[in-house]
């Protein structure tokens, strides 16, 4: 049956786009001929704000970029500032930072996998996943008082030390999480309908993926063995032992399995961090120290000067956030406020490949492929 082209608008408000993204689809019957993403609904001008606030004042704004995993955002900016100003960070602060970032990686992948499966129809995965996420968020609340926007990592160290009940609860969480990940695998990995929906959908080979600027688990699903934590290590990652999870097929199923494996590797890293945590109480760099602060669990908090002028220069520092490579390009002119802050967000760069990825597929495949790319609109629009 010859039918005319149909224009369908998967509008900004839609249950399957994770946030406010709009797709203009030109379709021939059931197949997509052309897909144009329209973004910018969540643009808040974070880069312009970066020019108007001081370095310390900008850190809460970085929380709101990728609101599912806020610790790596904090850390990427703080790492750029520390490289610019040459600040030394004590070992215990680095261990605490890596602890929070890896915990955040686990719960980010839970949200990503859960919402992908909810779009496909199996609502059980997200309910089970959020049960674990609740435990992790309670741990974070114990640590820094907030569940989503942490504002915890400061240049020089972390804001407060670990309170007393934290370590036993973290150990319990680690034991629990291992069994639960096995549960998730048993629920969904071998399911034939899931294989039918995900295998050979949205295939991209390694060369094209690198050309589009893909990074993170999506790139590792196409066979490129690259992880910033391993090959350009920062913080204490040189001392930690973990594998890089790589799959060669390049389809949606491979990207999904990479995320499941990464959750297990993060558990492994967390166990090493907990075992080797230094016992000293230094959480802030030697030049700034700590100051008494009421209302904190330990009574002290890091001190960071209000007038902080790094030397003039520019730096581009990147880390391995759960969604990919998150980079901050900071230009300083010697005053208290940055001259320019440019944010290289992984979701924005991963989203550029969607038009070519879904040509010829059906709408159900668009949803499956889009879910595996793991986009958060706060990161795309900044």
């Amino acid at each position: 049956m010859e039918s005319d082209e149909l224009f369908i608008n998967m509008g900004p408000v839609h249950p399957s786009t994770h946030g406010v993204a709009r797709f203009k689809l030109r379709m021939d019957g059931e197949n997509i001929k052309e897909c144009t993403p329209v973004i910018g609904y969540l643009h808040r001008g974070t880069e312009k704000i970066g020019e108007m606030k001081t370095y310390l004042q900008f850190i809460p704004y970085t929380d709101r970029l990728d609101y599912i995993s806020a610790f790596p955002n904090n850390y990427a900016f703080v790492k750029a500032v520390e490289e610019l100003a040459g600040i030394e960070v004590p070992l215990r602060a680095e261990y605490i930072r890596v602890l929070t970032m890896e915990l955040n990686r686990i719960i980010n992948h839970i949200v990503s996998i859960g919402s992908l499966l909810m779009d496909l129809g199996a609502a059980t995965m997200i309910m089970w996943g959020f049960r674990e996420r609740e435990n992790a968020l309670q741990l974070f609340e114990m640590l820094c008082g907030a569940r989503m926007t942490f504002n915890y990592i400061k240049p020089g160290g972390v804001r407060e030390d670990i309170p007393d009940g934290f370590m036993p609860k973290l150990n319990e969480f680690l034991k629990d999480m291992e069994k639960r990940i096995d549960d998730y695998e048993q629920l969904i990995n071998g399911n034939e309908i899931f294989h039918m929906r995900m295998k050979n959908i949205g295939v991209i080979n390694a060369k094209d993926a690198v050309n589009y600027g893909w990074t993170g688990p999506t790139l590792r699903g196409s066979g490129v063995d690259y992880d910033l934590r391993k090959y350009e290590p920062y913080s204490i990652y040189p001392d930690l032992d973990f594998k890089v999870c790589v799959r060669n097929e390049g389809d949606s199923y491979a990207r999904f399995i990479v995320r499941m494996d990464e959750m297990k590797e993060s558990l492994h890293i967390l166990r090493q961090v907990v075992d080797n945590m230094p016992a000293s109480k230094e959480i802030s760099s030697a030049e700034y120290g700590i100051a008494p602060m009421t209302g904190t669990p330990t009574g002290v908090s890091t001190y960071f000067p209000r007038i902080f002028t790094p030397p003039a220069g520019e730096v581009y520092s990147r880390i391995e956030a759960p969604k990919g490579e998150l980079g901050f390009y900071v230009v300083s002119d010697g005053t208290t406020k940055p001259y320019r802050v440019k944010i290289r967000s992984p979701s924005f760069c991963n989203l550029t490949a969607i038009p070519s990825l879904v040509k010829g597929l059906k709408i159900g495949d668009l949803i499956a492929a889009f879910g595996t790319i793991d986009v958060v609109l706060g990161d795309v629009d900044r």
Binding site: E83, L84, N211, Y212, G213, Y339, K342
Partner: protein
């Protein structure tokens, strides 16, 4: 020798100077030779274009490209200086597909035109927006109002007459 000096050895006429971007090799390229230099960088192994940054210094513009090589595990930065009145430079979309949206964003926010780009329209701000926000002479005090038009696209106007509720 580091990657910037290697590039200078291969294209002596295009590279103005080499230096360091804190700890990464950086080469300043002549504006006209950017495509050639980027192509040569891709040939010697820099296959990952990480970010394109546009900066407005008040008397000139700068565009900085950060590259990375998966095979050699090295970084490289290329910088181009542009006139303040007419900031234009060639596009890299013929070499990297990922440069498409990065250049659109730089055009949108900083106002740098990329010659030869297939689809240079605004990406983060709505289509009718006036001005480029990340320039230093952008007027932060005027307000512009955005509503949704008949076919779903955004409509920008300087006063609030197209809003349902008046301010």
């Amino acid at each position: 020798m580091n990657a910037a000096e290697e590039l200078k050895a291969l294209l002596p006429g295009s590279v103005i100077s080499t230096g360091l971007q804190l700890n990464k090799p950086m080469a300043v390229i002549k504006k006209e030779d950017l495509l050639k230099a980027a192509g040569k960088a891709k040939d010697i192994g820099f296959d990952h274009l990480s970010v394109i940054t546009g900066i407005d210094y008040k008397d000139h513009f700068e565009v900085i490209y950060n590259f990375f090589s998966y095979s050699k595990k090295q970084n490289l930065a290329l910088k181009v200086n542009l006139d303040h009145d007419k900031p234009e430079v060639e596009t890299l979309t013929s070499l990297w597909n990922g440069a498409d949206w990065l250049e659109r964003e730089t055009f949108d926010l900083v106002g740098i035109k990329f010659i030869g780009h297939p689809n240079l329209i605004r990406i983060l701000l709505p289509d009718g927006w006036n001005g480029h926000p990340l320039r230093k002479d952008y007027d932060m005090n005027t307000e512009q109002f955005v509503t949704i038009g008949e076919n779903g696209d955004d409509v920008v106007s300087p006063d609030g007459t197209n809003l349902l509720r008046r301010k």
